[in-house]
């Protein structure tokens, strides 16, 4: 992974997004700009309803902003049609959801194999990837046989199987105890630094911010830089 440093993995310029109707109308994103470089792990904190999920949706081509530009690895994803956006997510963006969100019917290996198959990726090596997140010994277990931390590790491995440029992580430690939380975020940071993947992680968990390169705070749809309390 030798992405030229001139191309940011994620670049959002002046994004606005309004949600809801009438009185319930809220500025989910209010003139949000953000740049994340390859190999960088950025945490986004903020209260519930501050627009953190909208930021991930827009960055992940799951929702289009009302205005503004979103570029992922140089591609303007706001210009992509729905099917093209689906295809783009598959190959360029990895998602890690809250509590892993694995498919109940699939073993850890099959979670990765399915993601690789969807992308038509024949060179993926699920076994090696599971090994790299410390899950080789649980490769043949299904989600209901895994602990919360293990599920999250498999979720991270699944997100990485198609070598994405950008990893979008939604509350990865919400269902985890303290030790597992640190393990998971440390793993994310390590993958970001080793593989040159950009990571944007939305979290409530202030404990794990120490592993991140930058911390941003979101309030009422506005994004501001926050100094890490070291």
């Amino acid at each position: 992974m030798s992405t030229p440093s001139t191309t940011p993995a994620l670049e959002i310029v002046g994004a606005r997004l309004e949600l809801g109707d009438g009185d319930a109308r809220v500025h989910a994103l209010d003139d949000v700009s953000l740049r994340v470089d390859p190999g960088e792990i950025v945490a986004v904190v903020g209260p519930s309803g501050s627009g953190k999920s909208s930021l991930l949706a827009v960055a992940g081509a799951l929702a289009k902003p009302d205005s503004g530009i979103v570029r992922v690895h140089g591609t303007d994803v706001t210009a992509l049609a729905k099917s093209a956006a689906t295809r783009f997510r598959l190959t360029t963006i990895g998602f890690v959801f809250q509590s892993g969100n694995l498919i109940a019917a699939l073993t850890a290996t099959d979670q990765l194999r399915l993601a690789a198959r969807l992308a038509g990726n024949r060179t993926a090596d699920p076994a090696a990837l599971l090994g790299s997140v410390g899950m080789a010994h649980r490769a043949d277990h299904r989600p209901d046989q895994l602990s919360g931390g293990e599920r999250q590790r498999v979720g991270i491995a699944r997100a990485l199987v198609n070598d994405p440029s950008l990893l979008l992580v939604d509350e990865p430690t919400a269902a985890l105890d303290r030790a597992s939380s640190h393990d998971v975020v440390r793993l994310l940071a390590a993958r970001a630094h080793e593989a040159g993947v950009a990571v944007v992680m939305v979290t409530h968990d202030h404990d794990v911010l120490e592993h991140c390169d930058r911390v941003l705070e979101m309030t009422d749809g506005r994004l501001g830089e926050r100094v890490l309390a070291a």
């Binding site: 949706a57 689906t86 809250q98 509590s99 993601a115 919400a174």
Partner: protein, 380 residues
């Protein structure tokens, strides 16, 4: 079908329950199919065996039970025989009678009066074709009613005595009653009411003037110049093709309509139950589907995977059900009119699968309404 197959294995309890319902529907469909075919054979196999194009009934005959109601005379027969495009036209006399064998058993018979050497005269598997007065050839199925070669049957009321001289090669029943073929002259003697008790004699037949039969059986020539409507007008008759004429047999329409309706309901139930199952199954997985779509699974992939999964389920359990149905059919008691024919059974199985797939398809279309963005924010 990477995901679909693994889901079948993972949720095998739920899928097996659904599959058992599909299999039971398939069993019922097969049994009904066998019953329909059996009843149809029981009702009209006597007509099916005839190599005729159409039957001409007397004009104005009520369609229901038309074979025994209609009366045509020799003039109408002559008009048909002479019509262009007709290769041959022969009289057919139909009446349903009760009788007693010489062993004292009650028998019901449908008398088919035919020209002894005509095209309506059936092939026999044992004995001889009936030629003389009072000789009958009966359906092979009549053996179970106690008839054998040489058995004498005395008709109720008239006391006319008929002798079994042969059995047909195939089942020949009409209105669920075994057919007895006899020369048209003998039939006319019985139908005229002038027959005396005992075996009919050539003298009685020679003295009879009774130029009537029930219907005219028509064979068309190869050049097909036959104008049925014009000949009907000229002869004062109304024609039905052989297949249409099935409806003129006793009970035929009522039976087939009832069974067809039951089968239609079964198909509908299958489609609805499978649809309901896959609706619940899809709703249960809404969050998983959102995750898959967010990760990058296309709509067509999810649809294909879901349809392939339902197809595997439907095919597997329909095959099981059909096999069970065929096995049960083999155990049916003799008295039950049951006849399994490969084509209707195959058709019924295909319809079960196709309609089940339709029901599943409507349910699986739901995946297109799952928004991938709902994968974010966890379970709320």
């Amino acid at each position: 079908m990477f995901l679909g197959l693994r889901e079948l294995r993972f949720a095998r309890g739920r899928f097996t329950l659904m599959g058992v319902v599909i299999a039971l529907v398939a069993v019922l469909v097969v049994l009904l199919s066998g019953l329909s075919a059996g009843l149809v054979n029981d009702g009209v196999s006597g007509l099916k065996a005839m190599r005729v194009m159409s039957f001409a009934f007397d004009k104005g005959t009520i369609t229901d039970n038309a074979f025994t109601r209609s009366v045509v005379d020799d003039e109408q027969l002559a008009t048909w025989s002479a019509a262009p495009g007709v290769r041959a036209a022969e009289p057919l006399g139909v009446s349903i009678v009760n009788g007693t064998t010489d062993a004292g058993r009650q028998v019901d018979l449908t008398l088919f009066g035919v020209e002894p050497d005509g095209f309506l005269s059936p092939a026999v598997s044992s004995g001889a074709r009936s030629a003389g007065p009072g000789e009958i050839v009966v359906s092979q199925t009549a053996a179970s009613a106690g008839l054998a070669l040489g058995t004498k049957v005395t008709l109720d009321r008239s006391g006319v005595e008929l002798t079994v001289v042969g059995f047909t090669a195939a089942q020949a029943t009409f209105g669920h009653v075994d057919v007895a073929y006899l020369p048209i002259d003998t039939w006319r003697l019985i139908a005229s009411g002038s027959a005396q008790a005992g075996a009919p004699t050539p003298q009685q037949i020679g003295a009879l003037h009774y130029p009537y039969s029930s219907v005219i059986a028509v064979q068309a020539g190869d050049d097909a110049t036959l104008d049925t409507a014009r000949t009907d007008t000229a002869a004062g008759t109304m024609s039905m093709t052989r297949t249409e004429a099935f409806n003129a047999s006793p009970g035929y329409q009522a039976e087939t309509m009832t069974l067809t309706m039951i089968r239609a309901f079964l198909y509908a139930i299958c489609a609805l139950v499978v649809g309901a199952f896959f609706t619940v199954w899809t709703i249960q997985r809404t969050h998983e589907i959102a995750v898959l779509r967010a990760v990058g699974a296309s709509t067509s992939y999810l649809l294909r995977d879901g349809l392939a999964q339902s197809l595997v389920l439907l095919l597997g359990f329909t095959v099981l059900g059909v096999a069970a149905g065929v096995g049960m059919g083999a155990l049916m008691p003799d008295g039950m009119p049951f006849s399994l024919e490969p084509v209707p059974v195959a058709l019924a199985s295909i319809v079960t699968v196709v309609l089940g797939l339709g029901g599943a398809g409507v349910a699986i279309l739901r995946v297109t309404r799952v928004e991938p963005v709902t994968a974010l924010g966890g379970h709320r």
